[in-house]
Amino acid sequence: MTHRFSRDDSNNGKPLLEVRDLKVQFPTPDGLVKAVDGVSFKIHRGETLGVVGESGSGKSVTFLTVMGLISSRDAHLEGEVMFKGRDLLKLPEVEMRHIRGKEMGMVFQDPMTSLHPMYRVGYQIAEAVLAHEATSKKAAWGLAVDLLGRVGIPKPAEAARRYPHEFSGGMRQRAMIAMSLVLNPDLLIADEPTTALDVTVQAQILDLIDRLKTEFNAAVAIITHDLGVVAEHCERIQVMYAGRVTETGTGDDLFYRGHHPYTWGLLQSIPRLDAGQTQRLLPIKGLPPSLIFVPPGCAFHPRCPYVMDVCRTEIPTMRLEEGEHAAACHLSSEEQQRIFTEKVLQQT
C-alpha cells in the first residue's frame, strides 16, 4: 500500500496540531462545568507531548474534543483546533469522521473494556481500515495481522482470530495501539495508556509507542496523571490544573527548574526508591476544585502554600522563562527559583 508512506509535508515547520484558547463547557443541572478553560498548545511532527494532571484537570476532555468525540452537541465549545491547516471545530461531523481513525488515532486507558467483547481482534482492526479505505476485507485483514505483528504480538495471524478476552491486558493495549495506527495517522493520542497495566508492561508499552512514533513518523500526545512515568518519553510536558495549563517545558525544565507550585507538589508526591525509610511523601493538601465553582484568580490558590493576595483575584498568564519553558504563576521568577532550590530540590 503506497499511501502509507506518501505523506503531505507541505506544512513543514508549522505545528501538526495547534490548539488555541480552547474552552469546553458542559451544561449540567447543577451549573456549567468548565472542563477546559482556555487551553493553548502545539504538537509538531515527530514530537511527543506529555499532558499531566489530576483527574478532572481537563486533560482527557481536551483531547476527546480534538478527536471530535466531544462535539458541540455535547458541550459548549470555543477556540480553535488547527490540525494540518483546518479548524476541526468548524468541520461537519461527516468530515470529522474521516479524520478520526485515519489521520488521528486514540488509545484509551482501560484495554480490558476498550475492545468489543464479541468481535475478533483482527476484525476490529480491519473494521477501522474498511471505514476509511476502499479495499477488500481480505486486504484489511492482512493489514490487521501486519500491524499486530509490528506492535509485538507473537503469532499475529493466529492472534487476529482471537477474541479480546483471550488476550492479556498488555496484549489488548498492544492491539488497541495497532488499531489506532493501522491507517498510519499523523497524530496518536494515548489517554492514560499504561494506567491499567502492570509496571513491567507499562515500560514496554511506552517503549513501543516511542518506537512506532519514529517508524510511522507521527506525533504523539500521552495523557497521564503520573509525571514520573512519561518524563523520559516526552519531548515536552504540559501540566494542567482545573482546565488550564499551569506549566509547560521539557522534562528537565520541570524536574530541575520547575516554576509552578503545582508542579512542585507533583514532584514531591513521586515516590523514590533511593529515599530514606524515614522520608515521607508530601501530598498536595486539599482537593482538586469543583469545575462548576472554579476558585477566582489562580485556580490552585486554595491549595498553594505560597499564595499571595493577587492570586485570589487575578488569573495568572503564561510567562515564558527560557526556551519553551513557561508557567502561569504570580510569583516572580527569582522567588520561584529560590523556593525551588531551597525547598523542592531538598525533598525530591
Binding site: 469522521r97 473494521e127 471505514a131
Partner: protein, 321 residues
C-alpha cells in the same frame, strides 16, 4: 462448542426426568379422587373399579407405576410414539388430539413471538436513540400500557373494535392454513398481536436498558474513535451486545408459550393446549393434564437450550467458560 452443547443436553435430560417425577407425584399420588373411579364411569360396581385399576396399572407399587409412566412417554404406547396414553373422559387415545392442539398453540406462539420481537426491538431501539425526547416517552408509555393491560381485557376490546364494530376481521376460532392462507392469517392476526403486546412491552424496556448501557461502554467510544459511521456504531456494536440478554429471555418465553397460552386461547376460542388443559382440569382428565405439563416443561427446557446455544454463538466469552 460441541462439549458445551453436550453438557447442556445432559441438563435438559435431567430436568425432564425430574419433571416427569414431580408430575407423576402430584397427579397420581395425591389426586383429589381415585383415578380408577373416575375412569370407571357412572356408578361403577366394585368389580369394575378393580378391573379398571388393574388395566390402568394402578394396583402396582408407586415406583413400578412411575417406571411404566416414564416408559410410556419415552418408548411410546400402542397408539404411537411418544406415548400420550388414554383419556379418562373420552376413553380414546390422547395422541392425535394433543398433537393437533399443540400445532395450533405452536402457530399462535411463534407468530406472536415474531410480532413481539420486531415490536420490542424496534421500540426499544427508538427509545434508546431518542432518549429523553417525545419518542422515548411515547415508547415507554406504550411499554407501561403493555405491561399493565390484562390480556383478557385487551383481547376482548380488540375483538369488540375490529370484529364487532369495524367488521375488519372474521372473528374467533381456528382456521387452518390448508383452508386458505388469508383466512388463516386473519384468524390469527388479533391473537398474535394481543399476546405479543405484553411481551413486546417487556422486551422494549429491556432492549432500551441494555442499549443505553452499551452506549456508555468504552468499546463504543473506541468504535467512534476508529471513525465508524454512527449507523455502524449503533447497529453493529451496540445492538449486537444488547441482544444477548434478549436471546436468553426469548428462549424461556417462547418455551413457556408453547405449553399453551390459556387466556389468549380462551378469549379467541382457539383449540390449543391452553384450552385443552383448562377443560381437562375441569373434567379431572389426569392423563391429559400430565401430558400437557410434561410437554410444557420439555418445551421450556429445549427452548432454553436453543437460546443458550444461540447465546454462546453470539457471545464468544460464554463458549469457553
Amino acid at each position: 462448542m460441541a462439549r458445551y452443547i453436550a453438557r447442556r443436553l445432559m441438563w435438559v435430560l435431567l430436568v425432564v426426568i425430574l419433571v416427569t417425577f414431580l408430575t407423576f407425584l402430584i397427579f397420581f399420588v395425591i389426586p383429589p379422587v381415585d383415578p380408577a373411579i373416575l375412569f370407571a364411569g357412572r356408578a361403577p360396581s366394585e368389580r369394575l373399579i378393580e378391573e379398571v385399576r388393574q388395566s390402568l396399572g394402578l394396583d402396582h407399587s408407586f415406583w413400578v407405576q412411575y417406571g411404566l409412566f416414564v416408559k410410556r412417554i419415552f418408548l411410546g404406547d400402542e397408539y404411537g410414539w411418544p406415548g400420550f396414553g388414554l383419556s379418562f373422559v373420552t376413553r380414546s387415545p390422547i395422541r392425535e388430539n394433543f398433537l393437533e392442539r399443540a400445532f395450533v398453540t405452536m402457530q399462535l406462539a411463534i407468530g406472536a413471538a415474531v410480532v413481539w420481537l420486531i415490536l420490542g426491538v424496534l421500540i426499544g431501539l427508538t427509545s434508546a436513540l431518542k432518549r429523553g425526547r417525545w419518542q422515548d416517552r411515547a415508547s415507554m408509555g406504550f411499554a407501561l400500557f403493555g405491561v399493565s393491560a390484562p390480556v383478557f381485557w385487551l383481547g376482548l376490546m380488540a375483538l369488540y373494535i375490529f370484529w364487532e364494530k369495524l367488521h375488519w376481521l372474521p372473528g374467533t376460532g381456528y382456521s387452518s392454513f390448508s383452508e386458505g392462507v388469508g383466512q388463516w392469517f386473519l384468524h390469527f392476526l388479533l391473537p398474535w398481536v394481543v399476546l405479543a403486546l405484553l411481551f413486546a412491552a417487556f422486551y422494549a424496556r429491556m432492549v432500551r436498558g441494555s442499549l443505553l448501557e452499551a452506549f456508555g461502554q468504552d468499546w463504543i467510544r473506541t468504535a467512534r474513535a476508529k471513525g465508524l459511521s454512527e449507523r455502524k456504531v449503533v447497529y453493529k456494536h451496540a445492538l449486537r451486545a444488547s441482544l444477548t440478554p434478549v436471546v436468553s429471555l426469548f428462549g424461556a418465553d417462547l418455551g413457556t408459550l408453547l405449553g399453551g397460552a390459556i387466556i389468549t386461547e380462551t378469549v379467541f376460542n382457539l383449540p390449543g393446549l391452553g384450552t385443552y388443559v383448562v377443560r381437562s382440569v375441569q373434567n379431572g382428565d389426569l392423563p391429559v393434564i400430565m401430558d400437557v405439563v410434561v410437554f410444557a416443561s420439555l418445551a421450556v427446557a429445549v427452548m432454553s437450550l436453543v437460546a443458550d446455544i444461540l447465546y454462546a454463538y453470539l457471545d464468544p466469552r460464554v463458549r469457553y467458560s
